[in-house]
């Protein structure tokens, strides 16, 4: 996967370029945010207070809390494969991208912008440790290169 970090700790979860779904030939058949009988990422309630209140905590109380292995959605491709996209980081789920539900092609055409999967906000205290646990772009590319050379 791939994460986009903002200065303000907000994280956007997207598919990394090496993800199978982004390889040529794959067509997305279905994207489902219903994780289990009781849990749908679409029903994530993030209640807001008026713009003038600074108590951001209230907004977060309703939102679903995710761990690294929490599934965000399941995507099935036309060739019968099914992929589960995981959160990869701990934090509160702010929103899932409903645009890819109505337009699944977006996920493949613009995976790192309009085709994002979800927005997650980690806890303030965990922000730093999370960033440190991830690969930089360069490191990621090195991993990919190693994989390709070992595969051939």
């Amino acid at each position: 996967f791939c994460l986009v970090f903002f200065f303000s700790r907000i994280c956007v979860i997207t598919l990394a370029e090496a993800h199978p779904l982004l390889q040529s030939g794959k067509t997305i058949k279905n994207i489902n945010y219903q994780i289990s009988a009781n849990c749908s990422r679409l029903q994530n309630k993030v209640s807001g207070k008026s713009k003038r209140t600074c108590l951001f905590i209230f907004q977060m109380q309703g939102a679903q809390f995710l761990t690294e292995l929490a599934p965000l959605c399941r995507i099935s491709s036309s060739d019968g494969e099914e992929y589960t996209i995981y959160s990869c980081i701990r934090g509160r789920l702010i929103e899932v991208n409903e645009n890819i539900l109505s337009n699944p092609a977006l996920l493949q055409e613009k995976p790192s912008t309009e085709g994002y999967i979800a927005v997650v906000l980690p806890k303030f205290e965990e922000s730093k440790s999370i960033t440190q646990g991830l690969l930089t772009r360069k490191e990621y590319e090195e991993v990919l290169m190693k994989r390709r050379s070992s595969a051939s």
Partner: protein, 533 residues
């Protein structure tokens, strides 16, 4: 104006004998003449003594009233009659000091009043007035009037109630009716006496609406001790004490006094109250000036300046801010304790504010100086402008608190115009962007931008782009002038914010677009009033 009459005699008798000061006695007799209270307390004491002795004397020099002589005589006669009546009926007050009245007043003389604890005694004297005025003058405030506020120890309410219940009881025992008039409030009487003195010393009038406040806090060492019985009688009126403060706050005590039954009160507290051991202390004498408001418009020419200080975890991320550059000079001139900066909207660190600038208001808290001529304001404006090339201010002027509302109204209702430098990934030709000029009232749906989601609630906002005007630069750049509704996120309109602002320039042009530079061209609020240069 009223003065003492026969019906007051038992009250005067009772209170003086228990150690009440003359002014409090007058209060309980509902005497409403302000002038009377200002008489020196020794004179008042003598007058009261005379009043009590009155029945024995034909020639009465007493008049507790400063009205015309004719009235004097009438009242004197009336008193004599009344006195005879009293003797006739044999309704003699039961206190041992009934006859002479001297013993009664003796017990009052020189003691701390059992009702006001010295407030209407020592704290009305010239010495105290001088002390207060010294404090005021040394604090070096500019003012044209004053309001004097006092904070009294809570047990004064208790003692007031005790004195009242004592009087009530006494009248009941004597079979006399109790007047339904209101007792003169302690604070009111105090202000009657002290206002003219303060006014004279300070050279300015007392005015309830004045912005300059002189406040005195009085305390008494026995507050907790004397109020303690209330806590047992009405425990739910008292909340646990915060920090080292007493649980017996004025509000809590008053509430408890409303609740407590007369019998319970009489059981636990002497009525009338006993003489205290101590005088009140004047704990604090403080001065405070009401806030003044300075308004103006600012231009921001730097792309590296936040509007308010940018500090994370105690570390300053960027040097200075619009707020600090403006407040520095104002704080120094007005000699205020602190300030509150507000403006009609904000711009990002990297956005310039051009044109007429953005309206702002600075509240200066507790300023020592409040009078500034138009000339002086102009010079202050020049000083600010000379000190920095990152910002400039105009139309700097003093405004009222109410005027701030106009500015905030501008934030939500008025339009703004912008100029954006836009980059596109795929090439564009002149013809590709001209259609933008024809789009009017474009409706946007903007989800809360990702870059502010950590401090703003998630929501979708509908905003209008009223007009646009494009200026072609080259195959990958063009400038766009836009006039938008207040609250529109321009940057997000350009790059789309991961598709969360729809439509956006990228979607309109069918390309990927990003914003390189943004300038605010105008903030269309016609406040504060433009000043001629």
């Amino acid at each position: 104006m009223s003065s003492l009459t026969e019906k007051d005699r038992p009250i005067v008798q009772l209170l003086l004998s228990t150690g009440t000061c003359p002014r409090c006695v007058l209060r309980f007799c509902c005497v409403g003449s302000q002038l009377l209270y200002r008489h020196p307390h020794q004179d008042l004491m003598k007058d009261l003594q005379e009043f009590l002795k009155n029945s024995q004397e034909k020639e009465d020099t007493v008049c507790l009233d400063v009205a015309d002589p004719p009235c004097k005589r009438i009242r004197l006669e009336h008193r004599e009659e009344g006195a005879d009546d009293l003797n006739h009926n044999g309704a003699i007050p039961q206190l041992p000091s009934a006859g002479t009245g001297n013993t009664a007043t003796e017990s009052s003389a020189g003691k701390v009043c059992n009702v006001c604890l010295g407030i209407l005694q020592e704290f009305c004297e010239a010495d105290f007035v001088k002390k207060v005025c010294q404090k005021v003058n040394s604090a070096d405030y500019q003012f044209t009037s004053f309001v004097f506020s006092v904070s009294l120890p809570p047990q004064l309410s208790v003692r007031e109630r005790a004195a009242w219940l004592g009087v009530k009881q006494q009248m009941r025992n004597l079979g006399l009716p109790l007047a339904k008039d209101d007792i003169v409030q302690l604070k009111e009487a105090y202000k009657w006496i002290i206002h003219p003195q303060l006014s004279e010393e300070l050279g300015v009038p007392a005015d309830g609406k004045s912005l300059f406040e002189v406040s005195v806090v009085f305390a008494h060492p026995e507050t907790d001790e004397e109020c303690h019985f209330l806590a047992t009688a009405c425990p739910d009126c008292f909340k646990p004490a915060k920090n080292k403060q007493s649980v017996f706050t004025r509000m809590a005590v008053i509430k408890a006094l409303e609740r407590i039954k007369e019998e319970d009160f009489l059981k636990h507290f002497p009525c009338p109250p006993s003489s205290p051991k101590n005088l009140c202390d004047a704990l604090e004498i403080q001065c405070n000036n009401g806030a003044v408001f300075v308004a103006g418009r600012y231009n921001k020419y730097s792309r590296n300046l936040p509007q308010t200080p940018w500090i994370i975890d105690g570390e300053r991320k960027l040097e200075s801010s619009v707020e600090e550059l403006i407040s520095e000079h104002l704080m120094a001139e007005f000699k205020a304790d602190s300030f509150n900066f507000s403006s009609s909207g904000r711009e990002d660190v990297d956005v310039r504010t051009l044109g007429n600038g953005r309206p702002f208001a600075m509240e200066l808290v507790n300023p020592r100086r409040i009078h500034f001529t138009a000339e002086e304001m102009k010079r202050l404006q020049q000083a600010i402008n000379d000190s920095s090339d990152k910002i400039q201010v105009r139309d700097l002027q003093l405004v009222t608190r109410e005027a701030i509302g106009r500015m905030k109204e501008g934030e939500e209702e008025k339009t703004k115009t912008y100029s954006a430098l836009i980059w596109t990934d795929k090439a564009i030709q002149r013809e590709d962007i001209t259609f933008l000029d024809d789009i009017k009232e474009l409706k946007l749906d903007q989800k809360t931008p990702l870059r502010v989601l950590h401090r703003r609630p998630l929501a979708v906002r509908c905003r209008l782009i009223h007009t646009m005007k494009s200026e072609y630069i080259d195959e990958h750049h063009f400038r766009l002038h836009l006039k938008t509704q207040a609250g529109t996120y321009i940057k997000e309109f350009v790059h789309g914010d991961f598709g969360r602002t729809k439509p956006n320039i990228g979607s309109l042009l069918n390309r990927t677009a990003d914003i390189l530079e943004l300038d605010v061209e105008s903030v269309d609020v016609d406040w504060p009033p433009t000043l001629a240069d």
